[in-house]
């Protein structure tokens, strides 16, 4: 079980993975130039890492480990600029957003490596439909038990992350009426959902070895959970965010995750509760469908309120920790957006209304990503 030994990491250290869309300029559909772009980027000295993803139309930026979100944003900007420059040489454009608005999933081609071949073999068309783009946020944890505790705490805020990042209103050429349609593609996987209600790292290991003995999973990678532990990094990984349209928003989301983790790990006011998981799928749906205007059932108090209001209250709650981490301004910016009901999904819909075609929405989204935060 060495692979699952929890490597302790600096508490509250921060890192992100961001999946991006590669687009061909002549019709703004997804391109398949990931391999060429990766080859070019591998020749540059870059912080972090750039990796392939399941289909050849995707590329993933991995940041290195940071103490706070401001430093993270600086690094993401360096990576973004390098990527945009190299992409220009290949006549490829890059953009954020959780889904490509009109690509045909059947046209996607699987990136040729062993892991991805296995995924296609196993999941069939789900693999190609998995051409959706997410941001994963890693928060460092001093040990396995703390990680499990943090996952139980953060699960209550899953709807926040969905609503704050929502950027996939269009799918397969249609307006889905959802703020984030991307998570529907994830839900189709049999091992999607959430971690079971385990009390600590030892119990988690027991659960994992049972699943492994049954032959249901081979590694942690087989779990497509909303939040999962990442023992080799020593982190808790939040996986529900759509990739935002700008690096700046990506950094805002990371800052929020870090402040939440700081609040719960230092104050430890609450105990894990099964009620959180009882209301989870309702809250999650509300967030996907309506964003910050959706309802959330607060599991500890049992009250229903607007997701946006709940986020604003939470930001106020964690503010002291944000100030200690040096990210007060970032959280204030996030809160300001919530107050006026602003979201990337809304921005995409407004572009569609103004331009009248989804190809132009993609063009505008590319321009926004390429321009920088």
């Amino acid at each position: 079980m060495d692979e699952l030994a929890f490597t302790p990491s600096a508490p509250l250290s921060l890192g992100v993975e961001i999946e991006l869309q590669l687009v061909r300029p002549h019709d703004m559909d997804l391109s398949r130039d990931a391999a060429d772009l990766l080859a070019r980027l591998s020749k540059r000295k870059l912080p972090g890492a750039v990796k392939p993803e399941i289909t050849e139309s995707m590329i993933e930026l991995n940041s290195s480990v940071h103490a706070n979100s401001a430093a993270l944003l600086e690094e993401l900007e360096v990576m973004r600029q390098a990527m945009v420059r190299e992409a220009a040489v290949l006549n490829v454009r890059v953009c954020g957003g959780g889904s490509h608005p009109f690509h045909d999933w059947a046209d996607r081609r699987i990136f040729p490596n062993e892991r991805f071949r296995y995924v296609v073999e196993r999941y069939g068309y789900l693999a190609k439909q998995f051409t959706v783009f997410g941001q994963h946020i890693h928060v460092g944890s001093p040990g396995g038990d703390e990680a499990i505790y943090l996952i139980h705490m953060l699960t209550r805020y899953v709807p926040h992350f969905i609503a704050l990042s929502a950027a996939s209103p269009f799918y397969q050429g249609e307006d889905t009426s959802f703020e984030s349609s991307r998570l529907t593609a994830v839900s189709a996987f049999p091992l999607a959902g959430h971690m079971p209600f385990v009390s600590g790292w030892a119990e988690f290991l027991e659960y994992f070895s049972t699943m492994k003995r049954f032959g249901i999973v081979a590694s942690m990678k087989d779990f497509y959970w909303d939040i999962r532990p990442k023992p080799e990094y020593g982190t808790v990984e939040i996986r529900v965010c759509d990739t935002p349209l700008t690096t700046r928003r990506a950094a805002l989301l990371a800052a929020y995750a870090q402040a939440l983790a700081a609040h719960h790990l230092t104050e430890r006011r609450r105990q894990p509760s099964r009620t959180v998981y009882l209301v989870n799928s309702y809250n999650r749906f509300e967030a996907c469908r309506f964003g910050v205007r959706g309802d959330i059932v607060e599991p500890y108090a049992g009250a229903k309120k607007k997701i946006g209001d709940d986020i604003l209250e939470t930001i106020a709650l964690v503010a002291p920790h944000a100030s200690r981490l040096g990210t007060s301004e970032l959280l204030e910016e996030l809160a300001a957006g919530v107050r006026v009901g602003e979201s990337d999904a809304g921005w995409l819909r407004r572009r569609q209304a103004a331009r009248g075609s989804l190809a132009h929405v993609v063009r505008d989204a590319c321009a926004r990503w390429e321009q920088g935060s």
Partner: protein, 401 residues
Amino acid sequence: MSADFLPGLPPAFSHATLFGALVVVGLLAGEAARRYASLPRITGYAVAGAILGPQGFGLLTDNMLFDLRLLIDLSVGLIVFELGFRLDLKWLRLNRWLLATAVAESLFCFWSIFGALVYFDFRPVLAAMAAAIGTATSPAVVMLVANDLRAEGQITERMLLCTAVNTVFAYVLLTLLLPFLHFEHAATWEQALFHPLYVLWGSILAGTLACMLMLRLAAWLGKREELQFVLLVAMVVVTVGIAHALKLSVTLTLISLGILARNLDRDHALLPVHFGYGAQLFFVILFVLVGASLEFSAFNAVAATVVAAYIVVRFLGKGLALLLFGPLSGIRPGGAGLLAVALVPLSGSAVVMVRDTTSLYPAFGKELAAVVLSAVVVLELIGPLATQFALRRAGEARPNG
């Protein structure tokens, strides 16, 4: 009893019948080539044309081919328009080495062929014209093979870009060579001077005007794919007709229209277009007619060495330029060689160009025809195969395409 309602014998079939029948025959031959011989469909269309043509069973006569000339122009017009519409000048601006690669590809190819033909004692004017024709990659072949294989990726994109550039290069050069041709035949200097100016600037002007009109109309129609599709096809057809009537170059006019439509459309009034199945109809008829026009007799007439030299040197010229400059333009290792192979197809409309010259100066046309048409015969057969091979090898074809 009078039987006026019955047709006279043999019944008089219209061109529509001929057109439809040729498409059906070509379609079947193309599918058979793909299914039974793993050949590109185009090869099947062309072989069907050659068998039916004047030099085969003669079901298609020279007169019929002449009557169907407008169909060839229309098909070529649609294809070079789409090719121009794919040419992103912004890419060339951002990637100067790519511009250098594309220009070098044309220049190296031209000079190699020119040098080889002069070495074989062809007169410089003749050598230059044959070299200019040889510089162009066939837009129709590369577009159709790429469509057929549903190829996507860097090699495919660069193949289309180089084809657009070398097509423009070849046609502009051919036009500029006209004065020398006129002088050789003791035409007046006015004729020598004004003919190329008229064709070159006339074609560009016609393309520009059509483009401006098209953008206005597209903006008025709005972002409706089905309406814009009809508009684009109709504008292409009418522009081909105008170029034809004004004795301009159909290729230059339509490629200008395409390039300008992509690059002048600042407000993005035009939606991305895929001609798709509709264009397939024109592709089939084009290659059947090109196949029927192949001059197998020309092939026997010239020394095979000259034709072989023409083909080899043309390939080497393209290859050398791509190997030298390709890597600087960001092509992956090994990609430059594949790109050179992909660019092998020689433009079937070389046949048309040669016809035009023949009609101007019959004797001169014959000389030119011997070399170029023989090369066309050979490359019409191996060109599509080469492109198909290169795109598959580059891993850019769809696995089941």
